[in-house]
């Protein structure tokens, strides 16, 4: 049953395979780590010169680049030489546990020479909420008003009108049509009112009764019955008029509502035009946002990218049961996890020492518990790093990624003090030159996410600031805005800002204050205020011209209809009142006549006796 010859050949083959593995294992391991890393991050993960020593239980590489999935021409971070000291025994259970990791030179947001986009199937990232937070901040930036005064005089009103898709003309036109239709209904209603002929007929009936000629009680009784009929008829006609009057009141209120609606439509269209034209509101709060929010949002965006990667990976691992991947890569399948009786996670770096450079300051620190399942070890992932330079500049970095509870929590913070701002550049400023020649600054901030709640705060203050005024302004700024920039840059050598922002589902708040807002405000007012107000007036006039004719037409139509109907109704009421009074008078006279006849007959009978 056992082939003895085969044992020898097997031994030879095994030696050959071991030699090949020894030669190529590092290459295979490097490819495997890049594949797994890419699946986690959603962008390229590239290792250089991976070196695995099984018997010494060490793993090292010369360089690691992790591309930014949101900007694949930059890295989220890259490392220099890195060495991990692993525990050997867990490797036999396919568990990767490193007690210690040493990273030389950790750098953030470095540029790449090749694109970091993954070819083929991208990693699935389920952090839609974090993407929506990022999108909300992008929208915030887009909503910032344009402060390009040079453009205000060339405002393309027609273009803005086309883009706005104004509703004024159409809506007021349809209101006019509604009122016209109601006029038709009204005229029908007014047609039901008693006309002059009927009133005259009733009057003639009343006048036809000649009291003096009525000698017979029967005749008086007949006349009385006629008057009663007339009175009932008048009552029913009055009821018709009263109901018509009530309806008229309702119709007048409705018509007045149309007027208010038309005016509101005009206001809304005007605001829509303002949004498109992005004419600036000139308030200190807005000025601070325009000055500094792009810089703040850029930092928030970067923090959210890191949080997004951690959270999306944690979400995938936390799922209660293994959901079937409907379309895994060919020949790779899906790994199903089972409980580990030794309570070891699949991957765990217990302690890592890192060093990096922030703002020219060497920073050293520790990252603890980079792990696939925090709940197994009962500890969150933390980052603590700090550095101080001889000139007093200092940096403190803090991070927490806590997925121990059902609600995920992340917090990233940084504090930089007394750092040189030589060459510092603001992101897309409008009122300030973008680059500083010199200055001393301190800045810091914290980004925190707990479940769906996002909050961030940041502050910056700089002293002894000198702006680089030699840099040419971009072409579309115009002389007026360039003048505003220079005026602000020269008027102060220290400024700061503070920003607070919060978001929970749809609720979003963002506020900024800056001590430079008043300075900027005055500079803008001197230069741009008139231009801005002129542009507003142009837009307002244009809207009213579009709507004006129709609005007047609507107003006149409503007033005329209401007026005509009121006149008709009051005329009817008056006539009916008169007829009613005449009929009542006639009835009274008939009763008196009857009484008089009765007395006469009694006297005549008495006389005969």
């Amino acid at each position: 049953m056992v082939r003895k010859n085969g044992l020898g050949l097997l031994a030879v083959l095994s030696i050959v395979v071991l030699i090949i593995m020894a030669v190529f294992s590092d290459f295979l391991l490097e490819r495997t780590m890049e594949r797994i890393g890419g699946a986690i991050v959603g962008a390229r993960v590239e290792f250089n010169r991976v070196d695995l020593h099984i018997f010494r239980a060490t793993l090292s590489w010369d360089r690691l680049q992790v591309a930014n999935p949101d900007n694949t021409w930059r890295n989220l971070f890259e490392t220099g030489f890195t060495k991990l000291d692993m525990r050997l025994e867990p490797l036999f259970y396919k568990r990767f546990i490193a007690e210690d990791m040493r990273i030389d030179s950790l750098l953030f947001n470095t540029s790449r020479t090749t694109s970091g986009a993954l070819p083929g199937r991208p990693a699935t990232r389920s952090t839609n909420y974090i993407d929506s937070v990022k999108a909300r901040f992008e929208r915030k930036l887009q909503e910032l008003p344009l402060y390009n005064v040079a453009r205000l005089s060339e405002l393309d009103i027609d273009g803005i009108m086309d883009a706005a898709g104004l509703k004024t003309k159409q809506r007021i036109g349809s209101l006019v049509d509604s009122v016209e239709r109601k006029r038709g209904q009204w005229e029908e209603k007014l047609g039901e009112l008693p006309d002059q002929e009927e009133m005259a007929r009733i009057e003639r009936q009343i006048d036809s009764i000649d009291i003096e000629r009525l000698d017979d009680p029967e005749e008086i009784a007949r006349a009385t019955r006629l008057i009663n009929q007339i009175l009932r008829r008048i009552d029913s006609l009055q009821a018709v008029v009263d109901s018509a009057e009530k309806e008229l009141q309702g119709a007048i209120s409705e018509a007045r509502g149309y007027k208010a609606l038309a005016e509101r439509t005009i206001r809304e269209d005007y605001e829509r035009l303002l949004n498109i034209a992005r004419l600036p509101e000139i308030t200190p709060g807005i000025i601070a946002e325009v000055l500094f929010s792009p810089t703040v949002v850029e930092r928030i965006h970067a923090a959210l990218t890191y949080i997004g990667i951690f959270r999306s990976y944690n979400e995938r691992l936390r799922k209660a049961g293994p959901e079937k991947d409907p379309n895994p890569p060919r020949l790779q399948g899906q790994d199903i996890g089972f409980p580990d009786r030794r309570r070891l996670p699949l991957f765990w770096i217990q302690r890592g020492s890192l060093s990096t450079v922030v703002q020219g300051i060497r920073v050293k620190g520790l990252v603890r518990n980079i792990v696939t399942a925090q709940r197994i070890i009962g500890l969150p992932t933390t980052i603590e790093a700090s550095g101080t330079r001889q000139d007093g500049a200092s940096v403190v970095l803090r991070g927490l990624f806590d997925y121990l509870q059902a609600l995920p929590r992340e917090r990233l913070g940084m504090e930089v003090k007394n750092v040189s701002l030589d060459g510092f550049e603001f992101n897309a400023p409008t009122f300030l030159p973008s680059k500083l020649l010199s200055g001393i600054g301190r800045f810091g901030g914290e980004v925190e996410m707990a479940g769906l709640r996002f909050a961030a705060n940041g502050k910056f203050s700089g002293t002894g600031l000198r702006f680089d005024l030699s840099m040419p302004d971009s072409e579309d700024i115009g002389r007026a805005m360039a003048g505003v920039r220079r005026s602000i840059a020269r008027s102060t050598d220290n400024f700061g800002f503070e920003a607070f922002t919060e978001m929970l589902r749809e609720r979003f708040s963002f506020s900024m204050t800056s001590n430079i807002s008043e300075v900027a405000l005055n500079a803008i007012k001197q230069t741009a205020f008139d231009e801005i107000e002129k542009a507003r007036k142009q837009l307002r006039d244009r809207v009213e011209r579009e709507a004006g004719g129709k609005l007047d037409e609507l107003r006149k139509l409503i007033e005329k209809q209401a007026g005509d109907a009121k006149k008709t109704l009051s005329r009817n009421k008056e006539n009916l009142d008169n007829l009613s009074r005449e009929a009542e008078t006639m009835r009274r006279k008939l009763i008196e006549r009857l009484q008089e006849l009765g007395r006469k007959r009694t006297l005549e009978r008495l006389d005969r006796f």
Binding site: G6, L9, Y93, K324, L331, G333, F338, P339
Partner: protein, 177 residues
């Protein structure tokens, strides 16, 4: 040079040995198991069995090559079967958990859906493929072997220099062993 020839002769000897229909079928199904499975560890174990057990090595190597080429095609089926076995059958979970906690076993990637699915498929196919291969081998030897030996293709192959070298090495092997 002589050493290399001796090694080659030994290899051919082994390849030609164990030539009964049952041994050929046995080698073929073991090769099928290795060829279908993407796990290097399981494939390597199957190859060890091929060398150690007295089955036809050539048939095994042929099966590895053949099924290795077509394993890509039923991959979604292996994934579904593997997922069903690993996650869809609660009574089996204690077994998988125990295996997961045995040293070296996790290195086989048995908890991967395609590895489990292809292994299970190979086990399911083992009896029919074994008996079919055995039957086909017997029928071939009885009815077609002589015809194939006398065919134009066979005569052409026998006229090539590669074949003449094969014959020389075979004779060396026969003399040595």
């Amino acid at each position: 040079m002589m050493f290399a020839v001796v090694i080659l002769a030994r290899i051919f000897n082994i390849l030609r040995s164990a030539a009964s229909p049952g041994q050929i079928a046995g080698g073929f199904v073991i090769g099928m198991t290795a060829g279908l499975n993407p796990s290097l560890v399981i494939s390597f174990l199957a190859i060890i069995i091929l060398f150690v057990v007295d089955v036809n090595l050539a048939a095994g190597l042929l099966a590895i090559a053949l099924f290795g080429l077509i394993a890509y095609l039923p991959d979604p089926l292996f994934h579904s079967l593997g997922y069903f076995l690993l996650a869809g059958l609660p009574p089996l979970e204690p077994l998988w958990t125990s295996l997961y906690n045995v040293p070296f076993i996790p290195l086989t990637n048995f908890n991967n859906t395609v590895v489990m699915g292809s292994f299970a498929s190979a086990l399911l196919l083992l009896p029919p493929v074994y008996f079919a291969t055995k039957r086909i081998t017997s029928i071939y030897r009885r009815r077609y072997d002589a015809r194939v030996r006398d065919s134009k293709i066979a005569r052409f192959i026998r006229s090539t220099i590669v074949y003449s070298w094969y014959i020389r090495i075979k004779e060396i092997g026969d003399r040595l062993w």
